[in-house]
């Protein structure tokens, strides 16, 4: 560095006041950087992004973290949190540092249509709001009411992406077969806001969250089943701050309990070698590891193998933190490593339980042309096929 940079304590205060309360706890040991999946891939982003350094710049009030490849690289996978000796809330720091520029109107260009669509349509996929519940056509799902126990909240991705709609339909069928009392409010819901909050657009997050909380509270919702671990995170960890308190489960947790209670069982044999990719937001962020495995092992014929990196050490698909809408060149996509992990285990099917993971892994599998040896499936789809 040959130029002298301006140190601005004011900037540091601004970052901290945006929510980076633990920024100053960081002692710069660098463990986080070492664990970060960006170390596993080459390329420009990997070279630019160093989470320890990014936080250092924030601590000192130094410019230089605003570059898109730095500020928007983190996939919020939570790997770094596991070993931080100072228990720094690294992801909160990332989100807050993003907020400093996003709140001023500067979202990276590729994310502007996402925010725009969230504002206009209540979902990030440019889908018309009135089409949110279209995937339910032909299914017989009651509206949530006093007579239903759970609200089934379906992730925007599974409402609008035809590929992902299969997940929602499978979950509905599984829950119905298991006799779960649930209803939907899909047509009136908005995006949970988890990801846009991680991207630093706090204002937009609050707008979305408040509309959902108003809807849920108005309808007397107490218990929610989510199809995506990201919605699970938002409802469990973000909504209470805004007065939304619910008992929230991911569908895998609920099905796991129902399996134990004997309320659901699988009969169609599936003689395949199956492995599981732990979604960061189900695993590390919500500590759900066992139900998925028990469910998969309950399918007759399934030979279950663990991936090398599993559970707490699972490798991110790169879909979190807004990266599901970000470009990384071939060879720099974490999903490719994940596909290779599964192929190395000679698995026939790579199962996961998150619509973002499905998008990223499907894409990586097609990109690596591994479709003939490995199939990527959402857990609900596999379980549904074996009912």
């Amino acid at each position: 560095m040959d130029e002298i940079k301006e140190v601005s304590l004011e900037m540091k205060d601004y970052i901290v006041s945006s929510g980076a309360e633990t920024l100053s706890w960081c002692m710069q040991c660098g463990l986080c950087t070492n664990l970060c999946p960006w170390r596993l891939v080459p390329g420009e982003i990997s070279e630019a992004f160093n989470i320890r350094k990014m936080q250092r710049l924030g601590q000192l009030g130094l410019e230089g973290f605003e570059d898109e490849n730095v500020l928007f690289a983190c996939a919020t996978c939570g790997m770094c949190l596991v070993n931080c000796p100072r228990k720094v809330e690294i992801i909160d720091n990332v989100r807050s540092m993003r907020n400093t520029t996003v709140a001023a109107g500067f979202l990276p260009a590729n994310l502007r249509p996402i925010a725009g669509s969230l504002h206009a349509n209540g979902n990030p996929w440019s889908g018309a709001h009135e089409k949110r519940a279209e995937w339910q056509e032909g299914l017989n799902i009651p509206a949530f009411s006093d007579d239903t126990e759970y609200l089934l909240y379906v992730c925007c991705t599974s409402c609008f992406d035809t590929r992902s709609q299969k997940i929602a339909k499978s979950i509905v069928n599984l829950l119905q077969k298991a006799g779960v009392s649930f209803g939907v409010l899909t047509a009136e819901e908005n995006c949970c806001g988890e990801t846009i909050r991680k991207l630093g657009d706090e204002e937009l997050f609050q707008k979305l969250a408040e509309s959902n909380i108003k809807l849920f509270n108005g309808k007397g919702v107490k218990k929610i089943i989510t199809t995506s671990p990201h919605c699970l995170y938002a409802f469990k960890k973000d909504y209470p701050e805004l007065g939304g308190n619910y008992e929230v489960v991911h569908y895998a947790e609920l099905l796991g309990d129902l399996l134990k209670q004997g309320k659901i069982s699988f009969s169609t044999e599936l003689a395949k070698k199956v492995t599981f990719h732990d979604p960061c937001y189900l695993g590390r962020h919500n500590q759900v590891y066992d139900p998925q495995r028990e469910l998969l092992k309950a399918v007759p014929g399934v030979e279950f193998v663990e991936l090398g990196r599993n559970k707490e050490k699972s490798l991110c698909c790169a879909g979190g933190g807004g990266r599901v809408w970000a470009e990384a060149p071939m060879g720099e996509r974490f999903g490719e490593l994940r596909i290779t992990d599964a192929v190395d285990k000679q698995a026939d099917i790579l199962v996961t339980a998150c619509p973002y993971c499905i998008a990223m892994l499907d894409d990586a599998c097609a990109g690596l042309e591994k479709g003939d040896v490995l199939k990527v499936m959402e857990m609900s789809e596999l379980l549904n096929a074996s009912l």
Binding site: P113, W325, E327, M330, A366, G367
Partner: protein
């Protein structure tokens, strides 16, 4: 009393632009309906021969303004000449195409005349009180406004392809009037140094009116020539899905979609593209979507206005030939 419907005819290298002929054809209809005369105004050098073409296309009268300073379009010189002509002759309406020239010339002319301007119109309705009401798309076509002028003359630029070409009648003759160019010195401050016409420069993706896009179904980089041939016939840009970019067949700058370019052309032709949500996010707001895909279940058909289930390698070359017949 203001009278006459004027069409400012755009010519480049003594070739009359198609939109000018479209306007003459529509102008003829309006003139007949309203009992006005249709006047074609041509500026340039060596333009005398064009008088016959415009009269065959419907003009009752042709005003020619010849000058070497008008050989190439410049904002100032053209404004200077038209301003004086219009003040002298007082037409009701002055129309031209919403082209690079129209977009640059008419706002300036309108301001000098102290009148309004309906720009980029896609429809004209004859109206008893305001004479003409113009329909124009706003918010990138997500809405339309209808505008009329409270003063005369009424100025409007009309989007190309809004009106059909008429059949020229070589037997028609028109009164031809020659006017001299009186250009104010103050209007010659911007100097045109050079005009570079690119032989077949394809438009930039995000600015293109028509986009022809190829995906994994293209099978290899060498096959893009058939899409390029199609594109060049209709002045389209060529795009790609991310799968085609990942495969190294096209550069990233041609990628359409959520992490590529967001486009909303009038026409998007998707060839061998399955229609993944990330692709749709980048082109779903196109006005018309055509899908050519051999898989009848492909998601792209859910958003397509026109779909052909078939092999693109069979369909695209024939389509190119058909397009040639249409655009001439």
């Amino acid at each position: 009393m203001a009278k006459g419907i004027w069409v400012v005819v755009e010519q480049r290298d003594l070739q009359i632009r198609k939109v000018s002929l479209e306007l003459l054809s529509q102008g003829r209809k309006i003139a007949d309906e309203t009992g006005e005369s249709l006047v074609a105004v041509i500026l340039g050098q060596g333009i005398e021969g064009l008088a016959q073409t415009v009269s065959a296309n419907g003009a009752d009268k042709v005003i020619l303004v010849e000058d070497e300073k008008l050989a190439e379009y410049t904002t100032g010189a053209y404004t200077s000449v038209l301003n004086k002509l219009i003040r002298k002759e007082e037409p009701q309406v002055v129309l031209t195409g919403n082209t690079a020239v129209g977009k640059d010339l008419f706002p300036r002319l309108a301001q000098r005349l102290g009148v309004g301007l309906a720009s980029d119109c896609t429809g004209i309705e004859v109206d008893s009180s305001s004479f003409m009401v113009f329909k124009r798309p706003i918010y990138a076509g997500k809405a339309f406004e209808f505008v009329s002028s409270t003063v005369r003359p009424i100025l409007a630029t009309i989007r190309p392809n809004t009106f059909a070409l008429g059949t020229p009648d070589a037997g028609r003759t028109a009164e031809v009037v020659k006017e001299t160019a009186d250009i104010d010195a103050g209007d010659l401050r911007a100097i045109l140094k050079e005009v570079a016409i690119a032989a077949s420069k394809r438009p930039e993706l995000t600015e293109a009116n028509i986009i022809v896009s190829g995906g994994r179904g293209m099978k290899g980089p060498e096959n893009y020539v058939i899409l390029e041939a199609l594109a060049d016939v209709i002045g389209a840009a060529v795009g790609a899905s991310r799968a085609a970019v990942d495969a190294g067949w096209k550069e990233q700058k041609f990628q359409v979609g959520q992490t590529g370019k967001t486009v909303s052309p009038t026409l998007y032709i998707a060839c061998g593209i399955s229609g993944a949500i990330q692709h749709l996010a980048g082109m779903g707001s196109s006005k018309f979507i055509v899908a050519i895909n051999k898989d009848p279940e492909a998601n792209i058909f859910n958003v397509a206005d026109y779909g052909i289930v078939g092999d693109l390698f069979d369909v695209v070359p024939i389509l190119t030939e058909e397009f040639k017949k249409i655009v001439g």
